[in-house]
């Protein structure tokens, strides 16, 4: 089965004082129709930059310096700006974290959806309005025929996020990229929005990329997961594989550092010491080595950047085969 959306060896950089600073490096990811791929990592790990780079949305002076971003086999990075803009609107939907900034406060909800529709489709205003109401109904906004004329401030945070989802799916995209779509929402609203995303993915047969820092959301929502650290994918596999038997010391440490609802309360957490490296000053060798419990100089951890293995449950670690640790 061919992937709907594929990244191959994507590398993006910004100019720095001492040459190009690589924000993401050699990232390869694939997502199929009907599948949710979760990208997890901490701030600065490159999880958002990977996708803004792939879609030509990386703010200047950042730029992609190598790699491919294939949508149904077509490389987005070789398209003209105008072609890319049309692909983004029609074939790729995007939902971002903050439902406040995604909507223009001075325009009615309906007008903002109508604008998206009419920018891409040869339809009348009246038709677009009908579609906008139908879209609001699809994302379960109560009383959509009336609420279509409301302004964003009349909607709650959860409802605004539903509106942004409606705009993202308005043109029937093949891929939906959701970047921390529920992080700003309360937990009961989060559950509602996550269910909505699953329903839409199933009904429309979309491929979904879910960028999140929340391992609980990954377990609930995703089929496969890629763990990013310091601009690279360090582990990837099915959610079951990675959660049952994590192989990268970073992934293992992440699981140990979160308080779990099941673990004995009050037990001491095992934090990861230090902080992720500055992209301009990543260590030689493995970027995680300075924080790693399994680091061994004689294994090459400080000298050589480990490659991601080729297996289905892949890991980039010199010591992965030698670790015998339960999460």
């Amino acid at each position: 089965m061919t992937a709907m959306f594929e990244l191959w060896n994507l590398t993006a950089a910004v100019p720095g004082e001492a040459g190009a600073v690589r924000l993401v490096e050699d990232v390869s990811l694939q997502v199929q129709t009907g599948e949710t791929l979760a990208i997890v990592g901490e701030s600065g790990s490159g999880k958002t930059v990977t996708f803004t780079s792939a879609l030509g949305l990386l703010p200047k002076p950042g730029r992609v310096i190598a790699g491919q971003a294939l949508l149904e086999g077509e490389d987005l990075l070789r398209l003209s700006l105008e072609e890319l803009r049309r692909r983004r609107g029609a074939r790729i939907g995007m939902v971002f974290q903050d439902p406040l900034t995604g909507l223009n406060p001075v325009f009615r909800i309906g007008d903002q959806i109508i604008e998206v529709l009419r920018a891409h489709l040869p339809i009348s205003r009246a038709e677009a309005r009908e579609r906008a109401i139908a879209l609001l109904a699809r994302v379960q906004i109560p009383d959509p025929a009336r609420r279509v004329d409301d302004y964003p401030h009349q909607f709650s945070g959860g409802m605004r996020q539903r509106v942004l989802i409606a705009m993202a799916i308005a043109l029937g995209p093949r891929v939906l990229i959701a970047d921390e779509p529920t992080t700003a929402l309360d937990v009961t609203v989060q559950a509602q929005v996550l269910d909505l995303l699953t329903d839409l993915r199933e009904a429309d047969g979309m491929a979904m990329v879910l960028i999140t820092h929340d391992l609980g959301v990954v377990a609930r929502q995703a089929d496969r997961v890629a763990v990013m650290y310091a601009g690279r994918v360090v582990e990837t596999g099915t959610v079951d594989e990675v959660f049952r038997a994590p192989r990268h010391p970073y992934t293992i440490s992440l699981f140990r550092s979160i308080p779990d609802m099941e673990s004995p309360a009050g037990a001491k957490l095992a934090p990861i010491s230090g902080a992720p490296p500055d992209p301009a000053r990543r260590p030689a060798g493995c970027a995680f080595a300075p924080r790693c419990f399994a680091m061994r100089e004689d294994a090459g951890c400080l000298r050589e950047r480990p490659d991601l293995t080729a297996d289905q449950h892949a890991v980039a670690c010199h010591r992965a085969g030698l670790l015998e640790v339960a999460p």
Binding site: E42, S43, S156, G157, G158, M159, D186, V187, T188, V189, Q190, A191, Q192, L194, H213, D214, L215, G216, V217, V218, A219, R220, Q221, V239, D240, F243, S253, L254, F255, S257, I258, P259, D260, M261, E262, A265, G266, A267, K268, L269, A270, P271, I272, S273, A275, P276
Partner: protein
Amino acid sequence: MTSLLEVEALHKNFGGGNSLFGARRALVRAVDGVSFNLVAGETLGLVGETGSGKSTLGRLVLRLIEPSGGQLRFEGCDVISASASELRAMRPRMQMVFQDPYGSLDPRMTAGQIIAEPMTTQGMSRHEARERVGALLSLVGLRAAMAGRYPQEFSGGQRQRIGIARAIALDPALVVLDEPVSALDVSVQAQILNLLAEIQARSSVSYLFIAHDLAVVRHVSNRVAVMYLGRIVEIAPREALYRTPRHPYTVSLLSAVPHADPVRERTRERIRPIGEIGSAAALPVGCRFHPRCPRARIIAARGGDTVAAAGTRLPVACVTKDPALTPSGGAQHLTACHFPEEH
């Protein structure tokens, strides 16, 4: 055990009255009759969604904002009637740590000045304060040599350590922590939670720990209070609250938290409230959770006295009577629900 902090029927209203142009402004009952106490060395977790009033409550407890009504006693003293100078004398014993490690530290002051400020304000000499700063920095896991750096030179986790050092500088008896780790990455979050636990083990400071993350609250708290639209709807020792939640809102909240376990996530049953939290400017009559309550709908479907409400039929009690916090399933386990025994 005597209480360090006693809160009784605390209220805070915002708005009300008329605006400049004569239009009626909505009265928002942000905190609407909250009572609880806190003993020395204890951590009380306070959870609730946006709009529940939990942050307002945290500020009221320290009298950073003026309450509209109620009683507040700290170490036996009446906080509400305290004069400005009496309040200043209490300040060193009650401190606050804020969520945002970026916005809560003055960018023009060095870390050392930020931490020393509460001490010099209390009359400590500059020399003595400077020495204490070094000790405090190492206590929170930073190096004493970092005192000369500015906030922007620190990472988010380090800034939160500075905020904590400042809060504990005068050996407080109570620290209100408002979402102290929610802006931090998970690996750093664990460092800060461990640090807070170490400080408490050493000094028996009490924490009022306000957060929306139920796993974090479970991890740090001895007891947990759940707020909904300005009220505590359930308060209980941690294990009781998480194992046998009695308020349907608590049940829904716990059911909505995703666990980092894919097998469990696929098989679990979810109980979900209908819609979203209402507004504290238009509180429902009766139980304020009734418009969203799944349990009230189930009970009404079984028969008994019902009344048309919230687009369906609900038990009469839920729609007409405001439930008080009462013990159910243990003297320490209080629930504000007409049907706390139903599951």
